[in-house]
Assembly symmetry: C2
Homo-oligomer: 469 residues x 2
């Protein structure tokens, strides 16, 4: 029985997080966590459906939705099983409309829109096979996984043959790693305590809660004011390094253990990361971060413009003697940027984003390169729906690609999970549970009620918000 894709819907969904200061940092002073959401449908007696999204922070979400429509339109009439046969080929085709390519290419609005569509196709694929997305991919043979990735423009860093060899070498251990992570959960870190818009009291309170919840990696925003950053960082450091706040029965972790080595872990094994959201030029980044040495961060995230590969390399080189690393990726706009970050030895940590890259197919390419260059992948997830997405990607990385987990902490933010049918969840040890519902696909399906309420500008929330101004 052959199906055809018959129609799709896009939804511009915006959550008013700017009211609470959630998500604020030195650059993004006013964020409404938003989803440019697409649902793709087939015909047939048992029709397929796929939901996907990309993430924005409010204005401009409508532009992205329009771009999604232009791309999704090309799918009308296609047989999804033909698309599933080689998701890499499907990805190449999706990104190569010669006219739409020009307004990227492979960057900005048109590329994140392609991500939403690619994510929706992967969701459809996983649901069609009755598996969560991560399971669909880890069950692939090395050949199938290589065929699902995007290799154009990166073959000077990794060829299909090299990727194949890497994956084959990891085959034997997949089953055991799958069992391990199901049992333990996937290690997470929180950013929710450290948004720039929070008061000191709120930061202290949330940090204590995070420690009590079992987290041992913590991220704070910096870049608005040195004195303020130092003060807040020392507040956080004083709490996370203090055994009195640990969960009952916990003794923390050994800072000298292999998974904590090089992370400036405190006496209880707590790790702090700082994030500047691109506010500095290269020279300022170096000076400012050096002045925060006392809070002993593992790395500075996004010290400068996301395009600036050589800039990140220069910052990394300058900070190495100070024991502070460099991380970036949430705005690294395609696999070619990650390729160069790795080639230039510009990063200690590779922070892929499930929605900035153009979907699972492009993420796979970056996981493969990061594994080859031996750089841990710690996905970005500060947003709506991103946590739901990235747990799948980290599972794919651990089980099938890199085989490492304990150093590869995955961001967790405690916002807006209630809007999803299959929300992610954290266990009592501060680790992500493994998505296990055979119906959940790529876990992004949003409640119809949430869409009805927060769709912009005509959802019930926005209509009444406008009325009350």
């Amino acid at each position: 029985m052959s199906r055809k894709i018959t129609h799709f819907e896009t939804h511009d969904v915006r959550f008013p997080t700017s009211l609470s200061g959630d998500g604020t940092d030195a650059m993004n002073t006013e964020c409404d966590y938003s989803s440019a959401y697409v649902s793709i449908y087939t015909d047939g007696e048992s029709p397929f459906v796929g939901h996907g999204m990309t993430f924005t922070i409010g204005r401009g979400n409508e532009i992205v939705c329009q771009a999604i429509a232009s791309l999704a339109n090309r799918l009308i009439g296609k047989d999804p099983e033909e698309l599933f046969k080689s998701m890499g080929k499907t990805w190449d085709w999706m990104c190569s409309d010669p006219q739409l390519r020009w307004i990227g290419p492979e960057k900005g609005v048109i590329h994140i829109a392609a991500g939403a569509v690619n994510n929706a196709l992967w969701d459809m694929f996983a649901r069609a096979r009755g598996k969560p997305l991560w399971k669909l991919v880890v069950d692939m043979t090395p050949e199938e996984l290589v065929d699902a990735a995007a290799f154009r423009y990166i073959t000077d860093a990794i060829t299909r043959e090299e990727a194949l060899a890497m994956l084959k070498a990891k085959e034997a251990g997949k089953k055991e790693r799958e069992a391990t992570v199901k049992e333990l959960g996937y290690p997470a870190y929180v950013t929710s305590a450290g948004w720039l818009g929070y008061s000191d009291e709120k930061v202290a309170r949330l940090t204590k809660e995070a420690v009590a919840a079992g987290f041992n990696h913590f991220k704070m925003k910096v870049g608005a004011d040195v004195a303020s950053d130092l003060r807040r960082g020392l507040i956080i450091r004083s709490i996370i390094d203090d055994p009195q706040y640990l969960p009952p029965g916990s003794k923390g972790r050994d800072p000298n253990s292999p998974e904590l080595k090089g992370k400036n872990a405190g006496p209880t094994g707590a790790v702090l990361m700082i994030d500047a959201n691109q506010v500095w030029d290269v020279p300022q980044a170096i000076e400012y971060v050096k002045s925060l040495e006392a809070i002993k961060p593992w790395f500075i995230e996004e010290p400068t413009a996301p395009d600036d590969i050589l800039g990140h390399a220069a910052i990394r080189k300058a900070l190495k003697p100070h024991g502070i690393g460099v991380a970036t990726g949430e705005h690294a706009h395609n696999r070619m940027v990650f390729k160069q970050l790795l080639q230039a030895e510009a990063i200690d940590v590779c922070q892929i984003d499930s929605c900035r890259l153009a979907g699972v197919s492009e993420v796979l390419s970056v996981l493969l390169m990061a594994a080859k260059f031996n750089i841990p992948v710690c996905p970005h997830a500060g947003g709506v729906g991103l946590c739901e997405y990235v747990i799948h990607l980290s599972l794919i990385d651990y089980i099938a690609v890199s085989g490492t987990m304990e150093r590869n902490v995955l961001e967790f933010v405690d916002h807006l999970h209630e809007h999803f049918l299959y929300p992610c969840s954290i266990n009592s040890k501060g680790r992500y549970n493994v998505p296990s519902n055979s119906a959940e696909g790529y876990s992004i399906e949003m409640h119809k009620q949430s869409i009805a309420e927060y769709e912009w500008p005509n959802g019930s929330y926005w209509v009444s918000a406008k009325g009350s101004k």
Copy 2:
């Protein structure tokens, strides 16, 4: 008398160049040269107006127009004289809506849309002063010019102080250079002979016409088929190197003269460039271009992905022993990319695009960096309206920034100039005339009739084209 910006219009204008094969190359197999066009108006007894555009090749132009509207909306109510006071500050402000920034940042749809708006503001500024855009800028003091540029994220390559010093050193010679270029015109090269979609006969005919018109730099498209490229290249080479095709009275130029040194000029001083429009990965680029050595190109343009700074550097290094250079820039999406191309010594020639960068303010930043790194700027102009734009930019570069002209050939394509009130023009020596109408501003104002005819989808051309399918 203080004015306020009161309204704007956007127009999605598309010219059906795909019908004639104009503009075709190995990547862009089907181009409709299009303009995402914006007009901005003030109130007042003598109201100001500014027209601007960015360039696309068809589908997606509507997405860009929507983004332009989001940005232009922010101008409503602003006093243009306040904006003109520091066009650099205006540019920073335009690019920093914290929510719109996310869907770039500073790349793709939102950035080229910002370019259209910035170009319109510069057009308004120049018209308000009764000068063509180039003259407005070259008449600025060094301080004013520095203040008009975008310096964020590039200060590790050039500081405001360095830029100031560079411009001051060039001050004394400005008047003479202005007189020189008015007399001689600005050197141009043609691409119109070498589009991939043309037959051999058409290529030969157009090349002879170009030689007869006085051009001595020629560009051809490559990348679809090695044998075909070699054949076509040798056809072009045989014509441009043959004195019989020169204009009456011309003896060609000395290939050993300073302005032709290192360009693989033939016996009549003719130079050939090849352009691959990003079709190769790095290893293929190197092999393919080496196999075209017989046609003796000056450089290979866009051998690989525009994001791949390190890739271009690797290609350049590999081709140096073969005497072939590397050029790129028409898809270099912001000044940070150019910064790195220069820092990595990845290019012999810097090919800025008036519409890919976010307007004149960002172009100024790149001109300054290129001058500091001593790399000649040869703007891209294969499109509609781009020639009208880039002559201004090359004049600013020559008169105020780099002081060099003869090596810095400016692309010319002979398409669609009839749609502009102030079309660019070429003199009998194949050189651009200097725009000199006090009313023309940035020379992009389009005839209302052309807009009415080619606006998509409801212009008269597109309505009847649809009807005849």
